[in-house]
Amino acid sequence: MPMIAVNIVKILFAASLYGFLFFLARAMRAHLAGPAPLAKPFRDEPSRHAGGAVPPPSPEPLRLEVTTGEGAPSLVPITDRHVIGRGATADIFIDDEYSSARHAVFDVAEGAVWVEDLGSTNGTTVDGTRIIGRTRVGVGMTVEVGSTRVTVR
């Protein structure tokens, strides 16, 4: 190949590599800065960077405070049906040997949180009482799933 062609190809090849890396870095930055784009409702908290762009959620969404073992509790906004368990397909994943893979399901209706056991081995309790069927959980009440405590906030 003539020298000029070699040089053009060299520059194009390097440009394509760095173009790839640039767009990858940009996509990663957008992912870290913006609201989580994945279909994972409990991570979908309003971005702190967005300023006034995000309208304040109304009414105040209900949250589940999930505490497993000695770890710090994690807050999960509840908007829809969320299956809790230690299986890979659970929406709220808990690392809890005493829970089942798909242990129970939470949902929101009539402004309250409801829970229903999904045929788990160790059962589900609300404030110490084992539940049968879909049960209403008021704010401040605690659901036990295996050794995990879930409190409605």
């Binding site: 394509s16 590599l17 990858l24 709220i92």
Partner: protein, 429 residues
């Protein structure tokens, strides 16, 4: 990043592979051959398959892992094809097989998740030890060991008239990381306790030092009986970093460092081949006609590179012994220059960032340690071989993950990608 963006990155990597291949054949005066479209097709099939498996079986897996892997594989396959056409075609085939391994791994873990691996940990340990011992089988049997360049790392399996060679150590590496993660997740509290004191230094109970000494013994065994410095350092290094990650006790880093320093000093005294490596590293030009030839050729190739290199297909990387495996980084730098070298390192930087991010967000100690161990395996391997060919470290014959030629290496590293995607899928909020 959306599904479309991720696919676009993988398609772009396939085009880099095809475009690079076309440049290589044009530079050789052959015009654009059938190899370029075949390379694009092989990449689309391999990464499309892995992507589909991830989206179906681990839909919440990160979208940032496959793009850097695809870019590295593309650069590697172009440069391997440039050095040796037949190796380049074989590497494409291995890429498809490796993608199959990733798909199978994801499929096997799709319902029960990575946690199920804990149940089989002693099976994995036994499997890893058997794989590590396989090359010591006598040569000549239908399944026998083989000595290549003084290291006994290879196993040859005779199927009819053909001989299949593979490096079982690559598979052992992944199995051992799974075992370490499972073991450390359970024992980390006992290991983190430092109840004894020696002056200002807090020490663990002496019996808690047994695991680190066993790991050191295993690594030394690999060095003594198989003559493999790279695998030996890799195994021990990964174990020490995982031990540190599990316990958060710098004591273990110091203890591991002291063992490596002592072991390295003893090995350079006791084993001729380690002393030769050190000598070739420090004074390659004094041993130019002998042990220093490879390192010296690597230095010449680097010196030829400049900012943009000689151009794909216009350099002479084939002059370096083992250019397609150990020295593939130097071959890439010779032909694409400092720019290409930094692009490779940046892609590894992305890979490590994403891997450690998965480890930090993973639910539970086992998943976290597994993701950390797998990421560190890739990172340490990269540092060892890139440092080795750049003369920052003595040369150790480990592969550059996803870039070097080698079926066993690609298979093992794609299994790592599948495991990382699965852990990422299982992460909690």
């Amino acid at each position: 990043m959306t599904a479309r963006t991720e696919s676009a990155f993988l398609a772009a990597a396939a085009l880099v592979a095809g475009g690079g291949t076309a440049v290589v054949t044009v530079a050789a005066g052959e015009g654009v051959t059938i190899d370029a479209p075949i390379a694009v097709l092989a990449f689309l099939m391999a990464f499309g398959g892995v992507l589909a498996a991830v989206r179906v079986w681990a839909p919440r897996g990160t979208r940032f892992l496959l793009p850097p892997v695809a870019l590295l594989a593309a650069l590697g396959s172009v440069e391997i094809f440039r050095i040796d056409r037949d190796l380049g075609r074989l590497q494409r085939l291995w890429l498809l097989v490796a993608a199959g391994v990733a798909v199978i791994t994801l499929g096997l873990l799709r319902t029960r998740g990575t946690v199920v691996l804990r149940r089989f940990r002693y099976l994995f340990l036994a499997g890893a030890l058997i794989l590590l011992l396989l090359p010591l089988l006598p040569s000549g049997l239908p399944l026998g060991g083989a000595t290549v360049n003084g290291s006994r790392l290879w196993v040859q399996l005779e199927v009819g008239r053909r001989t299949l060679s593979f490096q079982p150590g690559e598979g052992a590496k992944v199995l051992l990381v799974v075992f370490f993660a499972s073991y450390l997740a359970e024992r980390r509290h006992a290991l983190a306790a430092l109840p004894r004191r020696l002056g200002p230094v807090a020490l663990p109970e002496p019996r808690q030092l047994l695991p680190i000494l066993l790991a050191f013994g295993l690594s030394s065994g690999v060095l003594v009986y198989e003559g493999d410095l790279g695998a030996s350092i890799l195994l021990f290094g990964v174990f020490v970093v995982m031990l540190y990650a599990a316990t958060e006790r710098p004591f273990y880093l110091a203890a591991g460092g002291a063992l490596v320093a002592g072991g390295a000093w003893a090995a350079s005294r006791a084993f001729g081949r380690v002393a030769v490596r050190v000598e070739a590293w420090l004074h390659p030009f004094e041993h130019y006609t002998g042990s220093g030839y490879q390192v010296a050729q690597g230095v010449f190739a680097l010196g030829d590179a400049g900012l943009l290199g000689t151009g794909l297909g216009s350099g002479s990387p084939y002059l370096i012994p083992a250019a397609a495996t150990d020295f593939v980084f130097v071959a890439i730098v010779e032909e694409t220059g400092l720019a290409g070298g930094f692009a490779v390192l940046a892609a590894f930087g992305f890979l490590l960032t994403v891997g450690v991010g998965i480890a930090l967000r993973a639910g539970g100690a086992f998943r976290s340690l597994l993701a950390m161990g797998l990421s560190i395996t890739l990172a340490l391997q990269t540092v060892l071989i890139v440092g080795g060919v750049l003369r920052l470290l003595p040369l150790t014959g480990v592969t550059l993950p996803f870039v070097s030629y080698g079926g066993s290496s690609l298979l093992a590293n794609f299994a790592i990608v599948a495991l990382l995607e699965q852990i990422s899928h299982e992460e909690r909020a």
